[in-house]
Symmetry: C2
Subunit: 327 residues, 2 copies
DNA sequence: CTGAAAGCGCTTACAG
DNA sequence: CTGAAAGCGCTTACAG
């Protein structure tokens, strides 16, 4: 059996109250009993039961993290940073891969509530889920709008879309197409598309966007891309809404013997560490993943600590153009 | 305030005991009171507090997952599969990114114990950490040897190393070098190296292995690779112990104007989804990540359910050669 | 400086 | 079929 506070107390010849006090370094305790208790704890290899503590304190130091999937390098890296920062602050992360499925999201939301998490970070697609679940549980969204009471953190998607599109134009592209997630998803990511359209219109060019499902449904993605190449044979520029899509585009172009960057220029989005290593040649818009993680947690902590209204409703972090050899 | 069982009981006009019974579907209860209680729960938007439940049941359905970092696509995908399977079985995942740092691992191990996890899955480097922490807490290791009481799950590393090396030989390589993690790390992954050496020796060739740190310390990795190119200018084959290293090798070769696959052939290791999309041309040894996850959880569950001795000490899952255009 | 008592929100024998 | 009581392992007023 695991030792409990009572066992330590007995061994040290004190009351459980006293053990608890040295555990929490609270109230006055003589150095002598302190030492005694410490010795007893070591001897028994005692570790406090955080469940019992949390039950009493109504504070678990547990954070729920809901994302589409850590298989995607963007989310894998985001998860790393979030967990890492949380750990440094004494928080623990309960991981949830929702695959953007609303049924899973709902299950996860309930699970997190039952586990009394102190707060939730959501980076998943579907909105609405949290409207009713949220019984003033601190939440912060990453790159997703849920409601106007839930703060959103993300990178400056409009600037990113603009940067990408203008870059393609500056490189001489005349026929640019964009691949993005379906419109019904109300993510700030759609601003990339808006920026793309705005810039092209300003240059009197017709913006064409193909919608593509984002979870790694590789096959479906390929089809859309093939269709695009078929319908717009004179395409000479592609702005992909993430690096994986850019990779598929590049590969498809290679198969068709289309030279990159001479006949076709491609800009991706995300600029993950993995992407930079695996595709060092890719021109892409880099998101500050670590900063997104840091900011989201800062805002969540403020909410948890009851500092409402302090956090900005929306935070847009700066993006960078990483110029490679695909443009 | 969150409603508790007592509130539901009052509203439904029954005792807490009865509410608990309908919650757990336990013992005899009339359909009528069952309905009453259900109605009261809905009305109050009641969710049971799993902390309190777990405290009593001594079962949290929490699994600790310790890995180097989800930033690495192999671990990002492994994490996804593990969490996904856990969720389908009613388990929740507490994520820990140790970065292979022994101090972090120790902290995480203690944290997991305090949180009363039902079991731990470790895919991290350092051994020894769990020798004393482990007070018969169910543990399963992924590709790491800890002690002979902790089951290990991984892919067939020897077969993988053999497959990779023989493939390079069959493609006519005469001077093959291998990049792997430092030897002191006692991971089954070292079997890839052993296989490499065995095969080359059998063919009367001298095996050369360069040691490379695995966490994404990109810069350090690059240096080792540059050094290798400098020292062995006639290298015509590389077996890299993961796809990220393979990517750096390929990039370095390109910079030096070394044509792949004509002058240099490269085989990677892992074959992640991300890798397959970002580097579709790479020849690599694919690990069955989903199977590794599934097997690890199966074994852990057996341990949790007290079926000791049932689980094999070591499980080696089959690997596949994915032939691309780099060989 | 230290301890006995009550309580965090739940569950399960034990009665009835 | 239903309820009162005790307890999971901890903590915190309240006394002393």
């Amino acid at each position: 059996m695991k030792p409990k506070i009572e066992d330590v107390a007995k061994l040290a010849g004190v009351s459980p109250t006293t053990v608890s006090r040295v555990l929490n370094n609270r109230g006055y305790i003589s150095q002598k009993t302190k030492d005694n208790v410490q010795k007893a704890m070591n001897e028994l290899n005692y570790f406090p039961n955080d469940l019992a503590r949390s039950l009493f304190n109504k504070r678990t130091y547990l954070i729920g993290l809901i994302l589409p999937t850590t298989s995607n390098p963007f989310f894998g890296e985001l998860t790393f940073h979030i967990e890492n920062i949380c750990a440094s602050l004494g928080y623990k992360v309960l991981l949830c891969n929702s695959l953007n499925r609303i049924d899973k999201e709902e299950q996860y939301a309930e699970m997190l509530m039952r586990n009394q998490v102190d707060g939730i970070i959501v980076g998943t697609h579907n909105q609405g889920t949290f409207h009713y679940h949220k019984q003033n549980l601190p939440i912060v969204a990453i790159d997703r709008y849920f409601s106007n009471t839930i703060p959103v953190v993300g990178s400056d998607n409009y600037a990113g879309g603009k940067l990408a599109t203008e870059h393609l134009l500056s490189k001489g592209c005349k026929k640019i197409i964009h691949f993005n997630a379906p419109l019904q998803i109300e993510a700030p990511g759609q601003l990339r598309r808006t920026a793309f359209e705005d810039v092209l219109k300003k240059h009197h060019m017709e913006p064409v966007t193909y919608e593509i499902e984002t979870p790694l449904g590789h096959e479906g993605q390929k089809e859309v891309i093939q269709k695009a190449f078929g319908e717009i044979p004179d395409v000479d520029g592609v702005f992909a809404s993430n690096d994986l899509i850019a990779a598929v585009v590049i590969n498809e172009a290679k198969k068709r013997g289309i030279d990159i960057p001479n006949r076709l220029k491609v800009v991706g989005y995300d600029g993950t560490e993995t992407g930079k290593i695996m595709m060092p040649q890719l021109t892409t818009i880099q998101q500050p993943i670590d900063l997104i993680a840091k900011t989201a947690i800062e805002i969540l902590r403020k909410e948890i600590d009851g500092e409402f209204g302090t956090a900005p409703y929306e935070t847009q972090l700066p993006v960078t153009l990483l110029e490679g050899k695909t443009t």
